[in-house]
């Protein structure tokens, strides 16, 4: 059936990705030769469908703190959990089929190690679908190790107090393993304890995705913007008196427009591409007024094919893995669609 067939080869796009910057938790990349729907699909999938781990079930044994059980449970759930694959040491799932493995981005993928609890044939939970954390803090005991001047203050229980029973899974720390003893990273606050108070609980972290609950979302920020195409009528700008050029630069907030050469001050360039679309109309109106021919000297329009992504990870999943998992997720969905389409086609034939 021709109506289901893929478009002809010469019209097929060949999207490209260019990584602009990559840090531990932040990443910026450009997707070229695609369209807004594709870019948006990637964004949506990263937010809602990348599989991560988060605390999902909390069993309280003792809670004499001033915060109620369900609030503590909620706070625990929002702590990002990191899964770190250690080659050779981490035992991976053996039941992963080749197709499944191929759909995963790498060996680091959490799904190579854990199953969804709903897919697992265990009763309740097991090592293959969950990870257990324990938290036991007794104010009167921990206060002994606190410096004298802080003795009268409440003790803050943080994510550092959470003890994992799986060496590869732990709450996010923003300091590396090596710095851990020397740095004073406070961790993520869970509850404050006062004299005589105690908290003892165990938590079970499970796999999930952002669609179910925001705690499974791996990113704090995942946005894209179309890359603007900018053009200046350089000759017209150069023809303006310097004070009018200054007016043009000042029409936008500081740092959006600037001179190509600070000493020369003849040609204006866009310094902040991200913000320029907000002010295009202002610049155009102004330059049109200033122009003797009543013609704007500036044109900027959003590209329909190129997009700049900015992604910031919460630390649970490395930021590049977030993107890769997202891409894989799209691929999986498309494959499913292809299979379904083929099935329908076969039925109709």
């Amino acid at each position: 059936m021709s109506c289901y067939s893929v478009a002809a080869d010469q019209r097929a796009r060949r999207p490209e990705v260019e990584v602009l910057s990559l840090e531990e938790n932040q990443m910026s990349f450009e997707v070229k030769k695609t369209d807004a729907s594709m870019a948006n699909a990637l964004r949506r999938v990263i937010i809602a469908e990348v599989v991560t781990m988060a605390i999902d079930l909390v069993t309280f044994e003792e809670n004499t703190s001033c915060i109620d059980d369900e609030i503590i449970a909620h706070r625990l759930g929002l702590i990002p959990i990191k899964y770190a694959f250690k080659p050779g040491k981490t035992k991976l799932r053996e039941d992963v089929s080749n197709d499944e493995a191929a759909a995963m981005s790498s060996e680091r993928d959490i799904q190579r190690r854990f199953r969804f609890t709903r897919d697992c044939d265990c009763d309740g939970y097991c090592d293959w679908c969950a990870c257990t954390f324990k938290l036991h803090v007794k104010y009167d005991e921990v206060i002994k190790n606190v410096p004298e001047h802080e003795k009268n203050q409440p003790y803050t229980v943080t994510s550092i107090n959470l003890e994992s029973d799986d060496p590869d899974v732990f709450p996010v720390h923003f300091v590396s393993e090596r710095e851990r003893n020397t740095s004073s990273e406070p961790g993520i606050a869970i509850v404050k304890l006062a004299k005589g108070q105690e908290i003892k609980l165990s938590c079970i972290a499970k796999l999930g995705c952002g669609k179910e609950h925001a705690k499974w979302t791996p990113v704090s920020k995942c946005v894209f913007r179309p890359k603007p195409t900018i053009s200046w009528d350089d000759n017209a700008v150069r023809a303006l008196p310097p004070n009018l050029r200054n007016i043009i630069v000042d029409v936008c907030p500081a740092g959006v427009l600037g001179y190509e050469d600070e000493r020369d001050r003849t040609s204006i360039v866009v310094k902040n591409e991200a913000a320029i679309l907000d002010f295009t109309k202002d610049i155009q109106d102004l330059t049109k007024q200033l122009s003797p021919q009543n013609k704007p000297m500036f044109h900027a329009s959003a590209s329909t094919t190129d997009f700049v992504f900015e992604v910031e990870s919460l630390g649970g999943v490395p930021v590049d893995d977030c993107v890769l998992c997202g891409l894989n997720e799209i691929k999986r969905k498309l494959t499913n669609l292809q299979v379904a389409v083929a099935e329908v086609a076969a039925e109709q034939a």
Binding site: A39, N40, R43, I47, P226, A275, D278
Partner: protein, 1082 residues
């Protein structure tokens, strides 16, 4: 730009020192327990009709410190929280010093308790009085709690301020028939009566009469004046009409009447009046109604004219004191009133306005309690007398009769009287013809603001059904005294009001010293003056003190000036008001209680007395700075001015407007509003009804109730899990420490149309925000059961769950599952989950068997529950009377309290907790009267986003703006956005832009530009569903959002049994908006 004096910027700094918010209740109560209570007792003596030698008199009355009487012998010191938890009354004993006759001797005993009186929190008798923050915390009290309420049987009760027409003042008005009359309500400790002087149009022209209930027919004023000893017609004419010949020409008609009635002398006049009284008495006794109005000697053997003289002296216009039948003061008064009525007839603009706030008095807790105490104390004494008579009648008594130590000394009359009155709110005092309901109300603890708002509430006595708009309308004289925004909608609109921020209600001040000062300052006493001297002299003014003529003076302005100077230097009371009235040609001095007044900065010669140095003691330490500010009234910088005196003031709003004519300067224009209205950011930019709506909604918003909210056992407590400080706050919010007990959350609001589920003010919420705890709330409900002990020796008991073996289906039996939360002692365990029908307290009560008397030993049973041991062979039979949980959604047991109250009832209180995330149909509101239900919850990936990654929490339809005109909300958003960028809380105090207490929208826009945002607060958004750029800029930024108490969960009711019609579940939805939404989603 205009150069502002530096002072203007910092004038708000003195606000905290004049914030007498909620203090008016406390001041009033303090005055009652310290001063007023002592005035009641010395007049009381108990004598016996049997033994003429016996007597008991009171020398002193005073109030002790709060305590709880555990039983007849022990009492322990009480703290407010203990009383709340134990359902006790927070009260203190009243002690008296007595002198009485015991047998042959006269004994004086001191500190004899006569009963208990509920103590107002934070009053001088309260344990919380002048406690520091840490001391209050040690007592488990919230340091921000306003106080001013009572705890009666564990319930917090407020005696609302009652607004009334002032007593003992004349009001010139047109009555129902359109006749001009002066209505005077006289009220003294003995009696209350109404009298009016009317100008009746008759066939002989206008004639003036005096009307009074006792006097039967209307009596011509000339006759009254003659009866008061003014026999000479010329004197009468001079008294009334010598000043203005037009008045004289009207009054001349009335002058003919005495001679027509053949009244020439005082005796004839009195006889004339006496006949009228007798005629009236006869007419009434024919009707069978007992004539109770006046019976001076019981036996009526006195002549008619003597009776008339007594009536004139003590009943008619009884508030004007007449000593030894010296009628000078009363004559002058009647003459003045007559003159005023005739003048009003000639010039209608001289009619008084009943709604003018200077004619109103606020009755506070102290005054109401004082009336109640007097009544109860008299009842106590008459009971005592009756019982003493009975005892003394017995001839052969074994012991000497000691009244104080005998059983007839019953202390419960007073205690129960007070408790009953406060807990029901019914003030029924026959002695004062008082029968009021709804005087007290339960203190609303829905939110901190609602509790504070309640303490400033003023209730007026008008019937709610009246359609008239007069009393409901906002009066110009309410400026600065009552909040123009804070009034409920609907039937009580305009009748229930709230005090403005700095308004204060006065208490009674010493009359004698004030009067003395007046005479010292040259007021001539009445006896020396005749009518001509009073009226025709151009500068002669009558001097009134609390509505009574005390004399006249020839240099009124000098007198007023001198009195004001004395007030400023605190030589007379600081709340005394001096008001000169050039048309009435009178000076009105008032020192009575219940007047509303407010502080103003004194200005003289065009300069404010609040010098910049006073505000900027930077070099001095903080303590001295506070001291200096606290003494502003004593040092003549600030003074309290009441509504009447404001008429003599010329008040500048700002320092740069001051001229030589000005007498005062406003402290801060934001103080025209009340506390609750202080919640609104930029209220001066909003359409006024929106502020009114917000005042109603601020009281329903959730947040923190008090810092001790989880120690308290309120029957219903709403609390936000993550309350936030408002990003745009105001000076007023700072004054009430709203940042410590906030009532909402800062939401990122996008004003745009989205999804169609946002029609009719519905809002759209971001699901991921809700996942992260946005506007999540806790609902705690109290369940309570008392374990009683009965007269026949039986007890209630609590008992653990029945054994599992007694259920056929075992653990899956639904009847067994009802017991799942129970412990062995029959009370639920903390932390257990309660489903619908779960049993919280498994109480069993004995089945009545009155013939059997059981031994009354309570012991711990083997299963752990409390039960009584019964006499062997007669086991008590019990039936279950358990307390169970009934709600569609499960809850968790939060706390269990086992305690006993004063009457030794064993109490079990269980708090049950539910945490709720916002759901469709819940009601939210910004602080600008913009309420709306949640129409849809959309996940983050579908929400629009900016290119920096901001995603709104709330989306609101832009159609909410044009018709509502809530510009304040727009400015709040812009100012808040600038504040967020800069990392500070923005300010939005009313009228604060030019005074440094509100951000300029212009400045905020400039700041936004500097941080790279658009100056109008709009952002470029991308569609979350398609990824396309939205084709309009969207107004987006932080706005403080409140979650209101109306939640779908509470409005969902269904019945378990009964006929079921098709698939429709009958859901009772209260709000029509819920109905619309429900239809959309079913």
């Amino acid at each position: 730009m205009l150069q502002l004096p530096h002072n203007v910027q910092t004038r708000w700094k003195i606000l905290p020192h004049f914030l007498r918010l909620m203090k008016q209740h406390v001041t009033s109560f303090d005055y009652f327990v310290q001063t007023e209570i002592k005035k009641v007792a010395p007049n009381q003596t108990v004598r016996s009709e049997v033994d003429p030698n016996f007597y008991l008199s009171y020398t002193d009355v005073y109030v002790g410190s709060p305590s709880i009487e555990e039983d007849a012998f022990t009492s322990t010191a009480a703290t407010p929280l203990e009383c709340r938890l134990r359902d006790c009354t927070y009260s203190a004993p009243i002690y008296v010093d007595v002198k009485y006759r015991r047998g042959p001797q006269i004994v004086t005993t001191s500190k004899v308790p006569i009963g208990c009186i509920p103590i107002m929190l934070h009053s001088c008798k309260c344990v919380l009085y002048e406690k520091s923050r840490s001391e209050l915390e040690a007592l488990k009290e919230c340091p921000h709690d306003p106080g001013g309420y009572f705890i009666v049987k564990g319930v917090e009760k407020v005696i609302l301020m009652q607004e009334q027409l002032s007593k003992n003042r004349m009001i010139i008005e047109r009555d129902a028939k359109g006749v001009f009359c002066a209505a005077i309500t006289s009220s003294t400790h003995e009696r209350k009566s109404r009298c009016s002087i009317v100008v009746k149009p008759t066939s002989h022209g206008y004639r003036v009469y005096l009307k009074h209930n006792t006097l039967g027919d209307d009596i011509p004023v000339a006759v009254i004046l003659k009866a008061m000893g003014m026999e000479c017609d010329q004197e009468i004419a001079e008294l009334v009409g010598s000043g203005d010949c037009r008045i004289a020409s009207i009054f001349v008609n009335s002058m003919e009447e005495p001679s027509a009635a053949r009244v020439k002398t005082q005796k004839q006049a009195l006889a004339y009046i006496g006949e009228a009284i007798r005629a009236k008495y006869k007419a009434q006794s024919v009707d069978g109604v007992r004539f109770l109005q006046y019976a001076p000697h019981g036996r009526r053997s006195i002549s008619a004219d003597e009776e008339a003289r007594d009536v004139l002296a003590h009943v008619v216009l009884s508030h004007v004191p007449v000593v030894n039948y010296d009628f000078v003061a009363k004559r002058t008064y009647v003459g003045h009133v007559t003159k005023r009525v005739i003048a009003a007839l000639l010039d209608n603009s001289l009619l008084d306005d009943k709604d003018y706030y200077g004619n109103k008095r606020l009755e506070l807790a102290g005054q109401l309690l004082s009336l109640l105490f007097e009544d109860l104390f008299k009842r106590f004494n008459s009971d005592l007398k009756r019982s003493a008579d009975l005892v003394l009648q017995k001839q052969n008594r074994t012991a000497v009769f000691d009244i104080v130590k005998s059983t007839i000394w019953r202390t419960d009359t007073l205690a129960q009287g007070f408790v009953h009155a406060i807990s029901t709110g019914n003030w029924v005092l026959k002695r004062f013809k008082m029968d009021r309901a709804g005087v007290t109300q339960v203190l609303s603890r829905l939110s901190y603001i609602s509790a504070i708002g309640m303490m400033t509430r003023v209730n007026s006595q008008f019937e709610k059904t009246r359609k008239t708009s007069g009393p409901r309308a906002l009066q110009p004289s309410q400026w600065g005294m009552l909040c123009p925004a804070d009034t409920p909608e609907g039937e009580t609109c305009g009748l229930v009001k709230n005090l403005a921020l700095l308004a204060h209600v006065t208490t009674d001040a010493e009359i004698e010293t004030t009067k003395r000062s007046c005479y010292d300052l040259g007021v001539e006493q009445l006896g020396h003056l005749n009518g001509t001297a009073l009226n025709s002299h151009a500068t002669a003014y009558l001097v009134f003190l609390n509505g009574l003529v005390i004399g006249a003076c020839s240099r009124p302005h000098k007198l007023a000036h001198a009195l004001r100077r004395m007030r400023r230097s605190k030589r007379i009371g600081e709340h005394i008001s001096v008001y000169t009235h050039s048309v009435h040609r009178a000076i009105y001095i008032a020192c009575d209680g219940g007047r509303v007044c407010r502080p103003l900065i004194i200005a003289s010669r065009g300069r404010s007395r609040l010098l910049p140095q006073i505000l900027e003691h930077k070099t001095l330490n903080v303590h001295i700075f506070r001291l200096a500010l606290g003494q502003l009234t004593a040092s003549g910088v600030v003074e309290y001015v009441d509504v009447n005196e404001e008429n003599n003031c010329f008040i500048a709003l700002d320092e740069n407007q001051l001229t030589h004519c000005h007498t005062h300067l406003e402290v801060d224009p934001a103080t025209v509003l009340g506390v609750v209205c202080g919640l609104v950011a930029f209220p001066h930019h909003n359409q006024s009804p929106r502020n009114t709506y917000q005042c109603a909604m601020g009281k329903q918003s959730m947040g923190s109730v008090a810092t001790n909210q989880f120690e308290r056992m309120d029957s219903l407590l709403y609390s936000l899990v993550y309350p936030q400080k408002a990003i745009v706050k105001s000076r007023i919010l700072d004054l009430v420490h709203f940042d410590d007990l906030p009532g909402g959350c800062n939401a990122t609001l996008a004003v745009m149309s989205c999804s169609g589920y946002d029609i009719e003010d519905a809002i759209i919420l971001n699901k991921n925000s809700l996942d992260r705890g946005f506007l999540r709330c806790l609902v705690l409900k109290k369940h309570q059961a008392s374990i009683r002990r009965y007269a026949n020796g039986t007890f209630d008991r609590t008992i653990g769950p029945p054994p599992l073996s007694s259920f056929i289906q075992g653990i899956h039996d639904t009847r067994y599952q009802r017991y799942s939360a129970l412990d062995d002692d029959g009370i639920c365990l903390v932390g257990e989950r309660l489903n619908d029908q779960s049993i919280i307290i498994n109480r069993e009560v004995p089945i009545e068997s009155p013939d059997v008397v059981y031994s009354s030993a309570r012991e711990r049973s083997q299963s752990g529950g409390w039960r009584m041991s019964t006499t062997p062979g007669s086991p008590a039979k019990f039936k279950s009377q358990s307390c169970s949980y009934k709600a569609p959604a499960p809850s968790v047991v939060d706390r269990v309290l086992l305690t006993a109250n004063e009457t030794d009832q064993f109490l079990v209180k269980v708090m049950v907790r539910q945490s709720r995330r916002p759901e469709i149909g819940d009601k939210f509101a910004s602080r600008h009267g913009q309420k709306g239900v949640c129409g849809a919850i959309i996940s983050q990936e579908d929400m629009p986003f900016t290119d920096v990654g901001i995603c709104p929490d709330v989306i609101m339809n832009p159609h909410g703006f044009p018709s509502r005109m809530t510009v304040g909300k727009i400015i709040e958003l812009v100012a808040g956005k600038a504040g967020v960028c800069h990392g500070r809380q923005a300010f939005g105090t009313a009228f604060g832009e030019s005074r440094g207490s509100a951000d300029h929208s212009k400045e905020a826009s400039r700041e936004l530009l500097a941080y790279g945002y658009s100056y109008i607060g709009k952002d470029l958004l991308y569609s979350g569903t398609s990824g396309d750029l939205l084709r309009a800029f969207v107004f987006m930024g932080p706005v403080f959002y409140q979650k209101l108490k109306h939640m779908v969960m509470d409005k969902m009711h269904s019945r378990a049994r009964g006929s079921i019609l098709s698939y429709i579940l009958y859901i009772v939805l209260v709000d029509i908006q819920f109905l619309i939404l429900a239809l959309m989603f079913i």
